[in-house]
């Protein structure tokens, strides 16, 4: 029995009870230790609060504690006997869209909060849209504050139906709704006897059991090369290996592969996974592979399945989210990072801006500013190997970087 790892992101605001829910999850899985609890109790008392403010657990920066808001993504870690969890706790307000994008980029599942009294609101649509954009295929929606509506089955089921409509319209099929009260603890870790009509899992049961992994055999092989390993030592005078982390699919000794940008194919002669020889390797293992022919492969090249190679192109259309205070507009010269590859790029045009609350595309936009999500076209200085993000997350993703000061300006997802 393997003990696996689930990465998930939470979205919601203080008003939805997100901090309380996260605090409850950590507290009830015994992930909050005595000295942490003592510290937040002391601070809560100093501020005249009657109960420990569990939000203080995740608000790590002085400014966040002083202002009582979450500014940045906070990563929390907990585990049960069957799984380890990495929780990216992201702020919910519109001015922090970029942080939710960051948190969702590595998440396999999104946990979205709804206040049962308010139902599906604009913020819910925005959080769900961001999860969908970032390729998160599974959503758990926790319908919170059930204690305030007398644990009404009718209210819960109406909300569940509303939410599924929104999620399905965004292309997310796997949605589970769970009635909870984070404050009291109903159905978070322990099953509540106040919702006898609910037969589904508690939140933690769901997190422990949900299957989010993609079988590597269902996806084409991609290995973005990070490093060419040439020891040139007495022991290994002629060793030449290509190191990287398999981003999708699997590879076996003897497989025909293609080095995408060089249009050269050859055969895999040896594979090792972090130093150990093996016959087969798969995503997300870090490997070093050796090839039958000497090919001049560099950092940034993509080694791929010969029958399903990535697209080679100098132009793409992509959805981006603007992460910095610098706007993105047509004609800008920037750097793009696609995995280990750095390439010069010019913004061709800004096609539209997505209104995350109405989910409508507004055309005729000149520029995209902080927290904006929209469609742009890009022209690369060189031909690049790339996939569509919805097919392959890692080889379809990129960031845009300011050539002058090196800052990260936007995250992008290749659409075509």
């Amino acid at each position: 029995m393997t003990h696996d790892l689930l990465r998930f992101a939470t979205a919601g605001s203080v008003d939805d009870g997100k901090s309380t829910l996260v605090g409850r999850l950590l507290h009830d899985t015994k992930s909050v230790l005595a000295d942490q609890l003592a510290a937040i109790e002391r601070v809560s008392t100093e501020r005249g609060m009657e109960v420990a403010d569990l939000a203080l657990l995740t608000d790590g920066l002085r400014a966040e504690r002083e202002q009582g808001i979450t500014i940045d993504v906070a990563y929390r870690y907990f585990s049960t006997t069957t799984r380890s969890f990495i929780l990216a706790d992201t702020p919910g307000h519109v001015q922090y869209t970029r942080n939710m994008v960051t948190g969702a980029s590595t998440a396999e599942l999104a946990l979205i909060l709804i206040d049962v009294r308010h139902g599906v609101v604009e913020q819910t649509r925005r959080h769900t849209a961001i999860a969908a954009l970032l390729g998160v295929r599974h959503i758990a929606v926790t319908v919170n504050k059930m204690d305030l509506v007398d644990y009404s089955q009718e209210r819960f089921e109406a909300l569940e139906a509303d939410f599924k409509k929104v999620a399905n319209s965004l292309g997310i099929e796997d949605v589970v709704a769970i009635p909870v009260s984070a404050l009291v603890g109903d159905n978070v870790v322990d099953r509540s006897d106040r919702t006898p009509w609910y037969q589904g899992p508690t939140l933690l049961e769901f997190l422990e059991e949900v299957q989010v992994g993609i079988d590597p055999r269902d996806q084409p092989f991609r290995l973005p090369v990070q490093y060419v390993n040439r020891p040139r030592t007495a022991e290994h005078p002629d060793f030449r290996g290509y190191s990287g982390r398999i981003s999708s699919g699997s590879v076996a000794v003897g497989d025909e592969i293609v080095v995408a940008s060089l249009r050269r194919s050859t055969r895999v002669t040896a594979i090792d996974v972090v130093g150990e020889p093996t016959d087969v390797a798969f995503a997300p293992q870090s490997v070093t592979i050796q090839l039958a022919d000497d090919i001049d492969i560099d950092r940034g090249d993509v080694i791929a399945a010969v029958e399903q190679p990535p697209r080679l192109t100098r132009e793409i259309t992509a959805t981006i989210c603007v992460l910095s205070d610098t706007s993105i507009s047509a004609g800008q010269r920037l750097l793009a990072r696609i995995g280990p590859k750095t390439v010069r790029v010019i913004v061709g045009s800004v096609v539209d801006r997505l209104d995350l609350e109405t989910l409508e595309h507004a055309a005729h936009t000149d520029e995209l500013t902080t927290n904006d999500v929209g469609t742009i076209t890009l022209r690369f200085a060189d031909e690049i190997a790339i996939d569509n993000y919805d097919d392959l997350r890692t080889t379809g993703a990129f960031i845009l970087v300011d050539d002058q000061d090196g800052s990260t300006l936007a995250g992008g997802m290749t659409r075509s």
């Binding site: 790892l5 000295d35 920066l61 929390r76 390993n229 030592t233 972090v274």
Partner: protein, 306 residues
């Protein structure tokens, strides 16, 4: 391959995923930077880091040196372990001595005798004089709440300062190491590991650690609710009584501020059971420097500490 048709054969244990992620980060740095260096103290996190680096670049040797800032208050057995380990792995060790800085007056000894805060400037100077552009540290986000906001790649200016509001967003597994002259990047491959993960990995990989991580009898005295080891650094003071206790260390740093915990855990397996059942965080139990204030770590990180 017995399980070629078995989906479990294509599933990874969480330690495998964390290991692969850390190796990916090591390789990114060597691919992007000219002069990386790894901070190596002989503490368990740095030992795991060196182990991962050796695996990441096999069969080549580790392609960067290791750096230790010796406060002069280090446990002698840890220094011996440090020297043996770098010899065995075959990496070059660079040591900066805080004592040199005190002797020539560039740093002043603190009244409380603690040298942990004094490390920052010698560290920054070593980074500048060594022309290092990327510095690997074993910091983990689960250690402390300011660290929970730290990136894998953490850009520092020429003063080594961390500005949490100017951090670069980090999406997917794309790490932006772009820097201007004078800037360097701190890199944390173990960001997503917990204390328990580190110990489970030590067990799985059969990594040898300094003996003081395991239960032993030791002469100690109590200060600030911790068991400290006496030494030249200034303990015990009058009124502090030496006693013999069965203890082990959960972290290993400057002797003046690293406390031992009472423990019967004599093996890695025992330690894993103990850590899993612990009701105190690693730093809360053993680090006086982190107890100074609610934002002690954030403040030190802003000043260039790791």
């Amino acid at each position: 391959m017995s399980g070629a048709n078995d989906s479990a054969a294509y599933a990874l244990d969480h330690l495998d995923v964390l290991e692969s992620e850390a190796v990916h980060v090591f390789r990114e740095v060597v691919g992007e930077f000219d002069r990386p260096v790894l901070l190596f103290s002989g503490g368990k996190d740095s030992v795991v880091m060196l182990h991962l680096a050796a695996k990441a670049f096999a069969p080549s040797p580790v392609p960067f040196p290791v750096l230790h800032v010796d406060t002069g208050h280090n446990f002698p057995e840890v220094l011996t372990y440090r020297d043996e380990t770098v010899d065995r792995v075959g990496v070059r060790l660079v040591v900066t001595y805080v004592q040199d800085w005190i002797d020539d007056g560039r740093l002043k000894e603190r009244a409380d005798g603690t040298r942990n805060p004094l490390q920052t400037i010698p560290l920054l100077e070593s980074i500048v004089s060594g022309k290092y552009d990327a510095v690997f540290g074993g910091g983990r986000r689960d250690e402390e709440k300011a660290r929970a906001k730290e990136r894998f790649f953490s850009l520092r200016d020429e003063f080594g300062q961390w500005d949490p509001r100017r951090q670069r967003p980090e999406l997917w597994d794309v790490y932006n190491g772009r820097r201007r002259p004078g800037e360097h990047v701190r890199v944390f491959p173990l960001s997503n590991w917990t204390e328990l993960d580190v110990w489970r990995y030590i067990e799985r990989e059969q990594i040898v650690l300094p003996d003081l991580y395991y239960s032993h009898e030791r002469e100690v005295f109590a200060r600030d609710g911790m068991w400290l080891t006496p030494g030249d650094w200034g303990g015990p003071k009058e009124g502090e009584e030496l006693v013999t206790r069965t203890v082990r260390y959960r972290t290993v740093g400057d002797m003046s501020c690293t406390g031992a915990v009472e423990s019967e855990a004599t093996s890695v397996a025992d330690v894993i059971v103990e850590v899993a059942a612990s009701r105190l965080t690693e730093r809360g139990a053993t680090r006086a420097d982190d107890r100074m204030s609610e934002a002690a770590m954030e403040d030190r990180k802003r000043e260039g500490y790791f």
